[in-house]
Amino acid sequence: MQVDIASFTPWSALLGGVLIGLAAALLYLGIGRIAGVSGIFGKLVCDQEANSGWRFAFLIGLILSAPLWNALVAETPPAFRLHLDNPQSWAIFCVAGLAVGFGSRMANGCTSGHGICGLARFSRRSLVAVLGFMTGGVWSVYLVRHLLGD
C-alpha cells in the first residue's frame, strides 16, 4: 500500500463530510427523514410514493448545489472547485448505473443511507452494507485499474 500524498486532501474532505453530516442532521431533525439519496430517488421516481413532495424538494436542492457552488466559489483554489473527470467509456457508466440501481434497491440503501445515516445510528445492517460496498469497490477497481488497465 502506498499513500498518494499529492492528491490527499484531508481538510476539504473532513469539512465536506461535516456538511454532509449537517445535511443529514437537518433532514432528520427538521422533518424526521433519513437522507439516503437512493431511497429518496427510488421512492419518488420508481415507486411514485405518495407524499413525496419533500423528496422532490431534496433532490432539487441536491441538483442545484452544483450551479450554486460554481457561482459562489469560482475564484477559490483548485482543491475547492467542482471536479468532474471523465476517465471511462459510456458502456462503463451504463453498466455501473444498472448495478448501483439494482444493488441499492436490493440492499435498501446506498453510500449516504447506509454509509452515513446507518453507521451514524450504529446499525448492524448498515455496517454489513458498507463492508459490501467497500469489498465490491476495491475488487472492481483492482480489476479495472490493474488487471484490465495498464
Binding site: 499513500v3 474532505a13 465536506g16 463530510g17 461535516v18 456538511l19 454532509i20 453530516g21 445535511a23 442532521a25 433532514l27 432528520y28 427538521g30 422533518i31 424526521g32 433519513i34 437522507a35 421512492k43 421516481v45 420508481c46 419533500w54 423528496r55 424538494a57 431534496f58 436542492g61 441536491l62 448545489s65 457552488w69 475547492f80 471536479h83 468532474l84 471523465n86 476517465p87 471511462q88 457508466f93 451504463c94 453498466v95 448505473g97 448495478a99 448501483v100 439494482f102 444493488g103 441499492s104 434497491r105 440492499a107 446506498c110 453510500t111 446507518g118 453507521l119 448492524r124 445492517r125 454489513v128 452494507a129 459490501g132 460496498f133 465490491g136 469497490g137 477497481v141 483492482y142 479495472v144
Partner: protein, 153 residues
Amino acid sequence: MTYLLASLSGLIMGCGLILSGMTAPGKVQAFLDVTGAWDPSLAFVMAGAIGVASIVFRLSSRLPNGLLNGRAPTLASGAIDTPLIVGSLLFGVGWGISGICPGPALVGIGAGYLPSTVFVICLLFGMEFHAWLSGSPVSGTEETSPTPWPGKP
C-alpha cells in the same frame, strides 16, 4: 416549511459532496484503489459526516419531539440477510468501476456532466428491474411507512 428544509438539506449535502471530492470519480476510485496509489481522503469524509450525524442523532433521541416538527423515523432493524450482502456487493462493483454513487451523480446532473445523466438513467432502469424481479414496487424498506405529519407540510 417541510419543502424548504428538505431542499436546504439537499443543497447542503450537494455542497458537502462537492467540497469533499465525492463528485470526482477519479478520487473515489483512488480511495478504493488500495493496491495502487491510495488516496485516503474519503475516509475523512465518512469520519466527518458520521461524526456530526451520530452526535445529532444521539442528542435528538433525548428530545421529546425532535427539533422542529421532526419526529424520529421508525427504522427497521432487520436481520442481516442475503439480499443485503449481494445487493451491497453489486452496488460496490458499480461504484468501483465508475467512481459514481447516487448522490454525486445527481449533483453531476446539475453541473451538466453528461456521464452522470447517463448513469442516473441506467440507475433508474436498474431500480425498475429490481422492482420487476421482486414482483412488488416496494420491497422491505429500511424506513418503514411514513408517519402522517401533523397538518399540511
